[in-house]
Each structure stands twice: as structure tokens, then as C-alpha cells.
């Protein structure tokens, strides 16, 4: 009996599902049917993939990477890709009560009928949702409990640069840029299945794809205090898995079409990457390290794509994404082409963030539709000294000058983003945040004269979390109590008319810190926390620190084991995974941080910081304007 026949016999289940959909909040989270959604006949393909985003539809839909891979796989007639997002708690209750599995959006097949389930690992606090989704699909959580008939569970995205806490649950992680590699991976799986190869044989065949990491081929031995004694690779797995980069990003895949949702997602717009990588070298920034080197698309490629995609989707807004979009070497040319081409259609363009040192009122005005609302800047740290430590080389005067320009150009509300708990931070640096905010407020008041009362400065503070593959990967994370102390310090001082202070739940940052530099022992803690009811940990109203603490206690692990400082010679849980960066470079950067020494932007080639990415991965930086020497 074919799968389809089996499925038809489950008509009552479908009927129940329809009734559930009529009851739950925002049924469009689960019904698909968006413009450009791809529905292929189930039986006419070699392999079926479901791309899973472990958060709500509104969040997951806004993610560019998943939309890109979705079109990429579906462009190939040999494969079918569908989507699934984490069901909201009300939907989860309904599914469990009706004993229904988690279904894909497109053809409503249960997840376990697919050959591959691909999770995107965007943030650590989505990990319990992954367990929950597997469980709702009736798929055993642990790899070793899954059999020949189960789908292969694969993961990609920034989380795969240290996926160790998830190592027990996944068959495969992919490190790096997936738009080419995904087709190689699928071809090997399809071949293997057609030739009747076993799951294990297929997995072994996948080892030859650059960027593929199969955690089961690496044994981790622990020594004292939970430190790693050794990591043993099993041949033919390589001792170190290196990330995959595209041979040529300037000609990289861009889809012919893009999904247009029914339900409003958090980012309701088309997106295009101006470039990958970043040359700034901020020492706390994982993205700035793992997505190297910088590679820009040409304005011609971008314009052609945008014309096509806007005509094709009807989106009224396009986000020009990258890690630092104003750094795009042809930004002015691009903006004038965009204005010429799209102003009649009233298409708006937005940049995800503007750097203080690349801000100009003219640039900002291009992205400001109509009324001047708020502007966000990220000084990150309160004093010049600490900004040199993190290699975000901005003087106080540069920050003040930029805010002066912004107020003078008409903006009334500024948001300033800082981190607390950065390496070497003292009370002086916290005071620096307060001083800076007050000075900016008084500049704004002065410039807005009679409307001074409308000027508002918001200080938003998050807690620094040391991330793998950054120069700060060895640094300690401040404790919960210390975070609260520093937040209170600011809370007491950032009061008064025109000032606002917002902060992150400190316990959330603790968990993020544990998981981001975590090891395999945390797998059981994840399971325990999920069993206790933890899901949607990134949602402050759903986050249950008490349950997490219970999970740590039950599995014999301590938060401090993970937030502690690491020695340079210690084996780190992610040492067998490489983003192409030399460890000696990260080490040097960390020492320079201690000395407050700046590493210049590596965009002009003579400033190459010899991080090792270009030589290790055999790639070169690509700039749309050619090399600037």
C-alpha cells in the first residue's frame, strides 16, 4: 500500500484537523497556501524534505535563509520541500488532545513521512522547540532510537558552529553556506535510498560533502570539572570539519520568486542580501567572525533581482540585508538606482541597522518613509576605552556628532543599544552609558528648542554572551546576580524626563550563554527541561528559569560550568568545528582586547588581519566596486 493510500484512509484525522484549525488562534499559521508556495505531487519526486523553523510562523516566515532553501530545493524537479513552524501552545494542546501528529503546511503530511527534516538553528533558546516538534511528529528524539524508516534529522545555521548540546538528536549538521551543498546532500541521500543502502551507509557517504558534520563520528571524553579531555574522530570522518563557502557569491543563487504570506509576519517584506561577511572585526560578534570573508553582490545583480521580485510579489518594502549594509561599497549608486526605479511604485527600502560612523542624514532619509520616527544606534559600550576593547572604534565625539546630525535632520527619538558584562567592564563604563545618554538627550533638547519635550532617548541594554569562534570565546560571562547589580546601577541612574531604560531578562542570557558554549552533556538537560514543560524559551512570558534550574539540578550540571572563563589551552567543545578562523588569530584578538588595541577594518586589503579564513577556505573578499587599495 502506498503512502498516499494509507493517508487517504486517515480521512477522519484530516477532518479533525480541519476542526482544530477552525478553533485555534491564527489558523493561517498552519494552513500555508501563500502566493508562490510550492505544492508538488507527493509521489513524483526522488526525495521529500520538510524545512522546519523552531519558532512561530510569524517569526520563521521572516527568515530569509529558509525561504531561499525552500525555493532552491523546489526548483529541482527531483525534490520536494515543504515547511513547518513550531505550533503555538494552543495548537500543541489541540494536536496532543486529538492525538494528531505535527503536519507540514503544504500537503499536510506528518513530519515522519518525509525523508529529511531540516531544522534551522538560529538561536539557542529555540532548542526545546526542536525537541517538542520532533516529539509532536512522533519521531524519537535521540538519533540512536531512530530506525531505517525515520527521516534524517539535519540542522544548519549559526547554531551548527557549536551544535554540541544538540548532538544526540541530530544525524547531521551543516556548517556554512547551504544553497549549493543542500543539493549535494539530497543527491547522496536519494542515491543511497534508491540503491537500497542503509541509513548508516548513506550517512557515511555524506561525510565527503564539505561542511557536513556527523556528531556520532566524534567521541567526546570528559575529564575533571566537566572539562573535555579529548575528542576522537572516527575515520573516515575528518578531524576538523570546516565550513562550506560558495565558490562565487556574486553569482550565487537568487530565487525567481518569493513567498507572500496571508498572515502578517514580523518582517513583512522582501529581502535581499547585499553581501555576506563583515570586515569590521567587532570582537564580540559571532556573525562577523563566522560569515567571513566579505563578498558583495554587484548593483546590477541586485537591481535585476529586485525588479523581478517586486513585480512578482507586490511587496511594498524590501530589506537590504547584511551585517552592516551601509558598508556596501556601492551604496550610493544602489540607492539612486533604487529611487529611480521604484519611487513611482512607492516601494520602500530599509536597512536592518545603521552604523554610527556610516550614518548621514541623506542616507537615513532614503530609508525613512514619511514621518521621522525613531532611529537606533549601537555604541555597544559606554566608554571609548571599552569600545576599543571590543574593536568598535568610535569616539564619544563621533557618537555625539552623529546624534547631533540626526536630531538636526528632524529625528526626535533615538534608541541606543549597549551591552553590559563585556570583558574588562568596570563601573566607569556603566557610568559612561549614563553620561552618553544624558549628553545625547541634552543635544536633542537643545536642537529641538520649543519641541524639546518630545525628545526621547531610550537606552536598551542586553547582557554580553561570549560566543564560540569569537575572540571572546574564552571569556567568562557575568553571573545572574552581577547582571542584576549592573542593570540596577543603570536603572537608578537612567531616570528622568526624556530618558527610557529597557533591559533583557538576565536569566534568559544565562541560559543562552550555557547553550552557546555548551557541550554534549547538555543534551540530557535539554530533554529534562522540555519534559518539565519548557518550550519557546526565547519568549520572556514563556521562559521558566525555575524549570531550567530544576533540569540542571536533575542532570547534575551547573550553569557556572558553562559561563566560566576557559583557558587558552583548554579543549573547547567546538574545537573540531572550524569557521576557517585560525585559533591564533582569535587568541591574538583577545589579547589585543585586553590591551585596548584596535584591529582595523579589513576592507582595504592592506589591512588584512590574517584571520585565516581566505587561505583556509580558499576564497577571496569580493567588492562590488572592485578592490580598494
Amino acid at each position: 500500500m502506498s503512502t498516499t493510500d494509507q493517508w487517504k484512509q486517515e480521512g477522519t484525522k484530516i477532518n479533525n484537523y480541519e476542526k482544530i484549525l477552525a478553533r485555534v488562534e491564527k489558523p493561517a499559521r498552519y494552513t500555508g497556501g501563500e502566493l508562490n508556495a510550492v505544492i508538488k505531487p507527493w509521489t513524483n519526486v526522488r526525495l521529500r524534505v520538510v524545512l522546519a523553523f523552531p519558532d512561530l510562523y510569524e517569526i520563521g516566515f521572516s527568515h530569509l535563509g529558509l525561504r531561499l532553501l525552500y525555493q532552491r530545493i523546489n526548483d529541482d524537479p527531483a525534490y520536494l520541500a515543504e515547511r513547518v513552524y513550531a505550533p503555538a501552545p494552543d495548537m500543541e494542546r489541540e494536536l496532543r488532545a486529538a492525538q494528531l501528529p505535527l503536519f507540514s503546511l503544504e500537503t499536510r503530511h506528518p513530519l515522519d513521512r518525509f525523508d529529511v527534516v531540516g531544522f534551522t538553528l538560529q538561536y539557542e533558546l529555540s532548542y526545546t522547540n526542536i525537541l517538542n516538534m520532533l516529539n509532536l511528529a512522533g519521531i524519537p528524539l535521540k538519533r540512536e532510537e531512530r530506525g531505517e524508516a525515520h527521516p534524517l534529522i539535519i540542522g544548519g545555521g549559526p547554531g551548527s558552529y557549536n551544535p554540541e548540546p544538540l548532538a544526540a538528536f541530530f544525524d547531521l549538521f551543516f556548517l556554512g553556506e547551504g544553497e549549493e551543498a543542500i543539493l549535494e546532500i539530497l543527491a547522496i541521500i536519494a542515491d543511497g535510498k534508491e540503491k537500497g543502502k542503509s541509513r548508516q551507509e548513506i550517512k557515511e557517504a555524506l561525510l565527503k560533502v564539505e561542511g557536513v558534520y556527523l556528531p556520532e563520528y566524534y567521541t567526546v571524553a570528559y575529564g575533571e570539572e566537566g572539562k573535555i579531555a579529548a575528542v576522537h574522530p572516527t575515520p573516515p570522518a575528518p578531524p576538523v570539519v570546516r565550513k562550506r563557502v560558495l565558490a562565487d557569491f556574486s553569482t550565487a543563487y537568487l530565487p525567481d520568486k518569493d513567498l507572500v504570506p496571508w498572515l502578517e509576519p514580523v518582517h513583512d517584506r522582501a529581502m535581499v542580501e547585499l553581501f555576506r561577511g563583515c570586515t569590521r572585526g567587532c570582537r564580540f560578534c559571532q556573525a562577523g567572525m563566522i560569515y567571513r570573508p566579505v563578498r558583495e553582490r554587484s548593483t546590477a545583480v541586485l537591481m535585476e533581482y529586485l525588479k523581478k521580485i517586486i513585480a512578482q510579489t507586490g511587496y511594498e518594502e524590501v530589506s537590504l540585508t547584511s551585517l552592516s549594509s551601509a558598508d556596501y561599497s556601492k551604496i550610493q549608486e544602489l540607492l539612486s538606482s533604487l529611487t529611480d526605479c521604484f519611487s513611482a511604485q512607492k516601494v520602500k527600502f530599509s536597512l536592518p541597522s545603521l552604523r554610527i560612523d556610516s550614518f548621514s542624514p541623506e542616507l537615513a532619509a532614503c530609508f525613512q518613509s514619511g514621518r521621522k520616527g525613531g532611529l537606533t544606534f549601537a555604541p555597544e559600550a559606554g566608554t571609548e576605552r571599552l569600545r576599543r576593547v571590543i574593536n568598535k572604534n568610535l569616539t564619544d565625539e563621533e557618537i555625539l556628532a552623529t546624534t547631533r546630525e540626526a536630531f538636526a535632520a528632524g529625528w526626535q527619538r533615538l534608541k541606543l543599544y549597549f551591552m553590559i558584562g563585556l570583558p574588562t567592564e568596570t563601573e566607569r563604563d556603566l557610568e559612561g552609558i549614563v553620561t552618553l545618554a544624558r549628553e545625547i538627550l541634552s543635544i536633542g533638547r537643545h536642537l529641538h528648542g520649543p519641541k524639546a519635550g518630545r525628545v526621547q532617548v531610550t537606552v536598551s541594554v542586553s547582557t554580553f554572551v561570549p560566543k564560540p569562534h569569537t575572540p571572546f570565546q574564552w571569556r567568562p560571562q557575568i553571573s545572574l546576580a552581577e547582571t542584576e547589580r549592573r542593570q540596577n546601577f543603570l536603572k537608578e541612574r537612567l531616570v528622568g524626563r526624556g530618558l527610557q531604560f529597557s533591559w533583557h531578562d538576565p536569566s534568559l542570557s544565562q541560559l543562552e550563554g550555557v547553550l552557546s558554549r555548551g557541550d554534549r552533556r547538555l543534551g540530557q538537560t535539554l530533554v529534562k527541561a522540555w519534559e518539565l514543560g519548557c518550550t519557546f524559551d526565547s519568549w520572556p512570558d514563556r521562559f521558566r528559569w525555575d524549570l531550567w534550574q530544576e533540569a540542571f539540578a536533575a542532570t547534575g550540571l551547573k550553569v557556572e560550568e558553562y559561563t566560566r572563563a576557559r583557558a587558552y589551552d583548554e579543549i573547547l567543545p567546538w574545537d573540531h568545528l572550524s569557521a576557517g578562523l585560525k585559533k591564533s588569530y582569535l587568541h591574538k584578538e583577545d589579547q589585543w582586547a585586553e590591551e585596548g588595541r584596535i584591529t582595523p577594518d579589513c576592507r582595504p586589503r592592506q589591512n588584512c588581519s590574517t584571520c585565516g579564513v581566505c587561505s583556509t577556505l580558499n576564497v577571496r573578499p569580493q567588492l562590488a566596486g572592485g578592490e580598494k587599495d
Partner: protein
């Protein structure tokens, strides 16, 4: 809202020369008819669209049809005179069709009697939530007509026509509370809208 956004994007994809409002945030000039409650299907939705270039109704219909997302269809397009009164102000009544299943072992005749009794009541008071509190409303004068059909599968098709305008309307939810004791609602669909000029518009089957 979701449908409105989808329509605006359809118009953009179709490349229709739509007029934009002036001001800080230019919006396409679209005006919609009575809002459709969540969970209600419809085959009778209307909107007015202002263009900057005169196009024939056929051209507009064609352009929209080719660009609609799955699940939406354009049935007819009419050209309006400049300064035509607003769509919303023209609507006088709306038709809905409820598909019901029985919570009771009643026969078709008993069901018909039950609806007959409901229709014959001189008052149908319901309590409605308002922003300031609760309010008693008599639905009876707003209920214009009904028709029952018994389907072969045992389900009941209950068609109603209700008033729409400054005097109020009956929302499908209001019927829901009247029917809840004896029937389970399987589907609700808006089937037609009647306008002031006496023109009755519904899907041609």
C-alpha cells in the same frame, strides 16, 4: 486585514495604475465593503479601487485574475462614475448561509418547526459587548428573511438575509448564540450583498 493586504499586493503585482493617498505614508486608494468576520467564508466581497488612468472593466478584471493568490477570485468588475458614493454607505443587506449539523435527534420537520418558531418571535434580544460595557439589542427587526434546505448528508443549509446600515446588522456570531442550543455550525458563508440601487449581487453558479 489579511485579505486587504493580499489584495493590495495583487493590485501591485498586476501593475494597475492605482491612485495613492497623499501625505506621509501614501496608501493605495481602496475602499472596502462590510468587514468579513474571522472564520466566515465569502463569495460576495466588494471593494472600490481608484485608478489614475481609465481602464475598461475587462482589463482590470483580467489583470487582477492573473495575479490573485490561491483562494481568491474576481467575479465582476464595474466602472464607477467619478465621486460615486462610498461602497459602505450603499449596502442595505447581506445574505449568509450557515451549514448546520444537529445536536438533537430532531427530524427535518421538527427542525423546520423550530426555525418557524424562531422567525415568529416578536423579539430576539441578545446582549452585545460594547467598548463601554454591554448592551441589549433586539435582532428581530434586522432579520429580513430565511430559507431552509435539508441536504442528503443530513446537514441543514440555513440561509438568512440581514439588514446592514446605520440601523445595525446581525453578525454571524449573533446567530451562533441563537442556534447554539440545538445546532453545531459547520460552515458560515457570506453569499450576497444588496445595494441601495436595488441591485442584488451574488455569485453566479
Amino acid at each position: 486585514m489579511d485579505v486587504i493586504r493580499a489584495l493590495i499586493r495583487t493590485i501591485r503585482r498586476a501593475g494597475l495604475p492605482v491612485a495613492f493617498s497623499s501625505g506621509f505614508n501614501p496608501k493605495p486608494q481602496l475602499a472596502f465593503g462590510p468587514p468579513l468576520p474571522l472564520g466566515v467564508e465569502s463569495e460576495a466581497e466588494y471593494f472600490d479601487l481608484e485608478l489614475t488612468v481609465a481602464l475598461s472593466a475587462e482589463e482590470v478584471a483580467q489583470a487582477l485574475k492573473q495575479n490573485l493568490p490561491p483562494g481568491l477570485d474576481v467575479l465582476t468588475v464595474h466602472q464607477l462614475a467619478p465621486k460615486a458614493p462610498s461602497l459602505m454607505a450603499q449596502v442595505t443587506s447581506i445574505d449568509y448561509r450557515f451549514i448546520l449539523s444537529r445536536k438533537t435527534p430532531w427530524s427535518d420537520n421538527q427542525v423546520a418547526e423550530w426555525f418557524g418558531a424562531l422567525w415568529s418571535r416578536s423579539e430576539l434580544p441578545v446582549t452585545k459587548k460594547t467598548p463601554t460595557g454591554e448592551k441589549k439589542v433586539d435582532l428581530r427587526p434586522l432579520w429580513h428573511d430565511y430559507k431552509l434546505d435539508f441536504q442528503n448528508d443530513g446537514l441543514i443549509s440555513f440561509r438568512v438575509q440581514v439588514a446592514f446600515g446605520p440601523g445595525g446588522t446581525i453578525r454571524p456570531d449573533d446567530f451562533g448564540s441563537l442556534l447554539a442550543a440545538a445546532f453545531q455550525i459547520e460552515e458560515i458563508r457570506r453569499t450576497a450583498v444588496t445595494f441601495k440601487d436595488g441591485e442584488r449581487r451574488q455569485k453566479v453558479h
